[in-house]
Amino acid sequence: MQPDFAELNRFLLDCPPFDQLSQEQRQWAAGQIKAAYLNEHNVDELFRAHSPALYIVRSGGFDLLTPDGALIERLESHDLFGFPSLLTGRGVVNKLEVIEDGIVYILSADVFDQLRQHSRAFEHYFIRAHEQRLLSQQGQRAAPANAYGDSLQRLVSEVVTRTPIGLASTATIQEAAQCMRDEKISSVLVVDDERLVGILTDRDLRNRVVAQGLDYGIHVNAVMTQAPATIRGQQTLLDALTLMTQENIHHLPVLDEQDRPMGMLTNTDLMRQQKSEPVMLISALNKAQSRQALVDEAQHIPDYMHSFALRMNDAAAVGRLLASLTDTMTRKLIDFYEREHGVAPAAYVWLAFGSQGREDQTLSSDQDNGLLLANDLNEQQLAWFAGLGDYVCEGLADCGVPKCPGNIMASNPDCRRTRAGWLERFTSWTESPTPKALMYCQIFFDSRNVQGNKRLYQAYREDVARLGQSEFFLGNLARLQANVQVPLGLFNRFRGTESGKDSDLVDIKRHGLALINDIVRLYSLHAGLTEPRTLARLHLLEASKLLNRKDNQALAEAWQFLTQLRLQHQLAVWGTEQPKNALDPDDLSTLSRRQLKSAFRILKDCQQGVSLKFGRTG
């Protein structure tokens, strides 16, 4: 009679991809395994006698070396090796050196092949591991989307069902109004040759036609909003909500994969998703009639976000949503200030920098903002904006967005500048960069217009992009990021990034996410991009000659993985005193640990790439 191998089963369950096998498959595999006590006296002989085979480290430590003795990886408990030869049929060339004696399980080629044939998940895991693409396996999702997920994870195309109602840009305003009356709609798409060229809303008719006393016979293209923000049918309602909140719009044209109009999504469509916290939160914030009411509503954000994040399977969406909540609160505070002190005396832009700018905010992110002002303001006007900066930054702090310790806030006179003033500031950073200035100035390159004059912002942003292309400056940034240690030590083991009692912890923000942001920012500065979001930057960089496709994709996957991991960690330490961004790799599941190593390895490679490409100049 065969024993039940309970101990080995338990181990295999914690050793992906064996956890993906069925109970019977795992049981069968356990009974086929050979366990070897590996030490310096038998390692060569054993390796020769059993390869090709899959080896699973149960205990001890071993170094995997190339034929010429270069270290590939230090192997520890739960690590797998030997599978590349099994998959490719090529001979085994790597060598193994024993660091500490231990037990290694051997799974013969026959058994490996049987398991591959009977389990797709098992086979896929090894193919991905062999291609070093473990990160594409996001196995650690918090909750299944469809069963318990938020209704905002539904696709836009599921909600927009009626055929799109469109007019040609040469239709008259009166025809447009009649069409909207007949169809009972509050906005209409303006479409020429199946291409969306604009959008016309009830409000446009009121503000731009009636109030201005325009002739109803002129063409709609004179009064429509040209090149409006759009969304694709394959994006989620949450994406739509975020976009509408950030752009401060209520109508969002929907396009299909070929850029043809599919229909219109309105905020009423979103409000129907009643049970969704983000919708309730945003509408509650928008309804607040006073600063106090806004602050009161904002106190619910952490709890709402907590339960929302638990149900989300896209961690990046949580960062985007938090950024749009901060945007909403900022606009409300500006509105309250204007009610007390009169409307803005000149053109301006409220700028969001850093994580709000990149839309990867967390609940512990602090404020990074500033004001871009029109030229030649008098004392009184300057005082108005100084008051605005104080009012909004204080207000945000009361709403739970902590003040910036580095004082990058619109309440600081240094962060309220004209276009020329900001350019002067950027120029001083790019031409005579001290390390500290360099560190700070990176925050300023990730900017977004939260409220204010679009043209002013665009002009400013393009100037800044030009300055950012300076090779001397990029060289300095490259050297700065090369100093950030990737937390992989010798032998590819995790290395703690903290000091004192936390020395085992790894800060996945400073030594992970922030580093990816820095690397991607360098490439996008070089390319002159004005986009602040890291994933969107990578998307725009797909055509780049400097960053190859493979690295581009690897960086995106590493970013997504680390964002997900950070969110999970933050949910786990919710309400405790534990560090929000630093975690102990030993507390992770085996798969997460392997993925984290893989992410850091990508970072290390890309960091070297950046040094080679940019570090030599300047």
Binding site: M1, F5, E7, Q32, I33, K34, Y37, I103
Partner: protein
């Protein structure tokens, strides 16, 4: 048995004991018993596995429940066996015969081999089976000697299977079960043997001293 046969057996054994320990076959075994006294208590289950250094082959793993109606004393507490487990019991004769075949020419390994061997012998006799291992190796005695030679004070509890394994940095096993304890004991033996005689091809008899 004739004198000649006895002499030949003695000579064969002598020759085998002089061969390298690594060339031998070992059986790591553990018993579950209803108590501590071989005269009055029963063997409830046995698990064993074959070792050819440095490999423990799971395909040679065996586990037999040997009593249908055991007198359960403290054993359920120790091994977590319950009445249900015994319903799958197989004829002890068959299990013992298989063990006897595998022990032929092999070295029996247990943690506290004297204990298991006394139970085994009485149990085998009951079913007219003769167990004749080439030799017996005790991981507990070996460890006691090793600590003694290193002038360690041997503290209470420092010779349990678990404690011995920890000194060799072998993994902690949660389960207590005749089979997993047999594997645990086999792994401990490999660690001990390689540390003691890994570098040279020491004869088996060196290991058994």
């Amino acid at each position: 048995m004739s004198i000649w046969l006895g002499l030949r057996r003695y000579w064969q054994r002598h020759r085998q004991l002089n061969q390298s320990w690594r060339a031998h076959r070992y059986i790591a075994l553990d018993l579950e018993t209803s108590g501590l006294d071989p005269k009055t208590d029963q063997v409830l289950a046995m698990g064993w596995v074959t070792i050819r250094p440095p490999v423990i082959d799971h395909r040679s793993a065996h586990y037999f429940v040997t009593q249908v109606n055991p007198e359960l004393k403290q054993s359920p507490v120790v091994h977590g066996m319950v009445q249900r487990d015994f319903e799958a019991a197989e004829a002890p004769q068959m299990a013992l015969a298989q063990l006897a075949r595998e022990l032929q020419g092999a070295v029996l390994i247990c943690h506290h081999v004297q204990f298991d061997w006394q139970f085994l012998q009485r149990f085998a006799k009951q079913y007219q089976v003769k167990l004749q291992p080439l030799a017996k190796f005790d991981t507990l005695t070996f460890e006691a000697q090793r600590l003694h030679q290193q002038q360690h004070h041997i503290a209470r509890g420092s010779l349990t299977l678990k404690a011995c394994r920890q000194r060799f940095h072998l993994p902690d096993y949660a389960a207590h079960h005749a089979f997993s304890d047999a594997v645990a004991c086999g792994e401990l033996f490999l660690a001990q043997a390689y540390q003691y005689a890994g570098s040279d091809d020491a004869p088996l008899k060196e290991l058994l001293k």
